[in-house]
């Protein structure tokens, strides 16, 4: 069961909901619906599943409906039609139709939220702001302060607990917002452009901190952003929205390599592929390489440079013009490699999910293509200069 699932969700702002829904079914645009019914289309036929532990980024220009559907998850926005299923205490709950008591339970325990303008209470200290959600639950002061101190330590604000929020910088205020959201121990975190109001350096730092925290706490995060770089950096899954509809949902690589339409293509055109593309997307697959028995020929027709593989297709040795070559191994998507080994090697074996940026760094150590292997160590493909260039220029045909 996904942690959050949108099923055919339509959101309409205005009194003529039925009229607007009819026009949505006819596939009319937002402008047409506004002209005919006076109602504003917030979202139309949104289908999206966010798995547990995933960061899903809703991405689009302002007015594309990304915040609108985020707010349907805790019913800050009412849903006109469709279901918003949230996993609440192991049970699926349709937030769009559940009763007030369930909704309140869900808001107190399962879903918490971080706001773009922080939404902190200026008459309260940092400590009392972080404890706000717990206080609404009716938790006693002693237990509350214990949890609050723990969360303040988590975001590095322990020494600021007694200050008022206006005494803090923007970045610190949003850390208070984060701590407040963490304090209720909700599994699902809604983040509505939380870093957009911050300057770029602070934004970058908070993004890193969020990723760092996420590695430890494994929340399900639904994140709204209008910044593609932010979306690509944070999102396990990215949903691109336009005019209230999701035009494409998938991984960063999916969106970069296979844009669903011209709108998405335009969006990703100027984006930096170095941290997004992986070996799998750019490599020349092993199956297309010429072979000579247990040897894979690396230099085409000449046939003087070969890779020896075992019966499982795992690289075991390198032959350079009859001489035995040295192989070095790089680890992880970032391609970590021992300096000494890198200096002495002739060829490098790396995992197939190697990032393009790492491939470029590794390529400095070897004249040969990088040998990409799958998670069982079997040769999957090659990544040479050509593949890197095509990746950089977004010219990959799949």
């Amino acid at each position: 069961m996904p942690a959050v699932e949108f099923r055919h969700v339509d959101i309409v702002f205005g009194s003529d909901q039925q009229g607007a829904l009819k026009l949505i079914d006819e596939g009319r645009t937002r402008e047409e619906i506004l002209g005919k019914t006076g109602a504003v289309l917030g979202a139309a036929d949104v289908n999206l599943a966010v798995e547990r532990g995933e960061i899903c980024v809703l991405m689009g220009l302002s007015g594309s409906g990304k915040s609108t559907i985020l707010r349907a998850v805790n019913r800050l926005n009412e849903v006109a039609r469709g279901e918003v299923i949230v996993e609440h205490r192991g049970q699926p709950v349709d937030v769009a139709r559940c009763n007030e008591a369930t909704l309140r339970e869900l808001r107190m325990h399962t879903v918490s939220m971080v706001f773009q303008q922080f939404g902190l209470l200026p008459w309260r200290t940092v400590r009392d702001n972080v404890g706000f959600g717990l206080e609404l639950r009716g938790m006693g002061a002693a237990e509350r302060n214990r949890i609050v101190d723990e969360k303040l330590a988590m975001v590095g604000l322990t020494n600021w607990a007694g200050k008022f929020t206006h005494e803090l910088s923007g970045g610190m205020q949003q850390r208070v917002g984060l701590a407040r959201a963490f304090a209720t121990d909700a599994d699902i975190l809604l983040m509505d452009e939380p870093f957009s109001a911050l300057d770029p350096l602070i934004r970058d730092k908070l993004q890193d901190e969020l990723l760092d925290l996420q590695r430890r706490i494994h929340k399900t995060i639904v994140f709204v952003s209008h910044d593609l770089d932010e979306a690509l950096k944070l999102g396990n899954k990215i949903a691109i929205m336009e005019g209230g509809r999701i035009v494409q949902a998938g991984t960063a690589e999916d969106i970069l390599l296979r844009p669903a339409n011209a709108y998405v293509a335009e969006f990703v055109k100027h984006m930096n592929p170095l941290n997004v593309l992986r070996g799998t997307a750019v490599m020349r697959p092993a199956a297309s390489l010429p072979r000579d028995g247990a040897k894979v020929i690396l230099d085409g027709a000449a046939g003087r440079i070969c890779l020896r593989v075992d019966e499982e297709n795992r690289p075991i040795g390198l032959e350079l013009d009859g001489r035995e070559g040295r192989l070095a191994v790089a680890d992880g998507e970032a391609g970590h490699i021992d300096d000494e080994a890198a200096r002495l090697c002739d060829g490098i074996v790396a995992p197939v999910d190697l990032k393009l940026k790492a491939a470029i760094e590794l390529k400095q150590h070897t004249a040969l293509p990088i040998l990409l292997v799958d998670n069982l160590g079997r040769l999957a493909g090659l990544c040479d200069d050509d593949e890197i260039y095509r990746g950089l220029l977004h010219r990959i045909n799949n």
């Binding site: 808001r107 107190m108 939220m113 939404g119 209470l121 609404l136």
Partner: protein
């Protein structure tokens, strides 16, 4: 132009507006007498009780207590010195008892205004239709000449301090209502959303978001209310309320410039003291 028949017809058929109102008041006196007597009793004893409490304490001790209270709230030497000087002046002029009677009337009127006005302001902020309905009534309460409603309150509550209090409340209550409404309706949307997102009930929303946010504005309404109540002191004296209004009325009737000036000065001094004490200390910004 007076010979136009339509004009003759118009003047010949006077709408008995005044009569209707008089009948309504008569009806109220006839059937609601016990209710009004009860209200009169409660408010009358409230004011009398507070007045005797204030007069029970020796004046110098009371001045010291006021000064101490002001120091605890504001931590300002200047204010404390001013309060002591101002109250000693009033005592010196011989208006101590009248000042305490007026203070008691003003505090009771403010109490009634806050107890009634703040909830009404909150209700109006939550219900736009209620505010729309209330708006002309509040305008009416602030513009209609005081003497006009002084007459029916006299009839309903009898001579004394209570009709003075009621008239004062009618005149002063629009301030806390309006400012409470303003404060509550200017709560930013993102604070409402923060409250909702963490599961606040309507009651929690009121006590933990709306009222704390609106508090400075509501306090401004209370201060205004106190000032408006003070400005009604002379009117209240006309219907028999004790206090600083009495010597003013007497001075007016006997053309006594000295007495009028001194009593008027005592009112002004009391107004300034109350205003300075009620101002919120500048501790934080929004």
């Amino acid at each position: 132009m007076f010979d136009w028949p339509i004009y003759d017809w118009l003047t010949a058929h006077k709408i008995p507006l005044g009569l209707w109102l008089k009948n309504a008041v008569d009806l109220l006196t006839e059937h609601g007498e016990s209710v009004f007597d009860f209200i009169s009793l409660v408010l009358g004893s409230l004011i009398a009780g507070l007045t005797s409490a204030l007069l029970f304490v020796p004046p110098l001790l009371l001045i010291a207590l006021f000064a101490l209270g002001a120091w605890l709230v504001h931590r300002s030497v200047g204010l404390v010195v001013f309060i002591i000087g101002a109250l000693l002046l009033v005592a010196n002029l011989g208006y101590w008892q009248a000042t305490m009677e007026t203070l008691s009337l003003v505090l009771c009127a403010t109490l009634v205004c806050v107890v009634v006005g703040v909830p009404v302001g909150i209700a109006a902020a939550h219900r736009p239709w209620l505010y729309a309905a209330l708006h002309p009534v509040l305008d009416l309460m602030q513009t209609i000449p005081t003497f006009v409603y002084l007459i029916p309150t006299l009839v309903l509550f009898g001579l004394g301090v209570v009709p003075g209090l009621i008239s004062t409340v009618i005149f002063a209550i629009p301030a806390p209502i309006r400012l409470t409404h303003l404060g509550i309706s200017s709560v930013p949307a993102n604070l409402y959303e923060a409250g909702k997102a963490f599961g606040a009930t309507r009651t929690q929303m009121l006590w933990k978001i709306e009222l704390p946010y609106a508090l400075p504005t509501i306090m401004a309404g209370v201060t205004q209310c106190i000032m408006l109540s003070l400005s009604m002191v002379v009117i209240a004296a006309l219907v028999g309320a004790d206090g600083l209004g009495k010597p003013v009325v007497r001075a007016l009737n006997s053309v006594n410039i000295a007495m009028g000036f001194e009593a008027g000065l005592a009112i002004v001094v009391l107004a300034i003291v109350l205003d300075r004490v009620c101002k919120r200390p500048h501790r934080r910004k929004g």
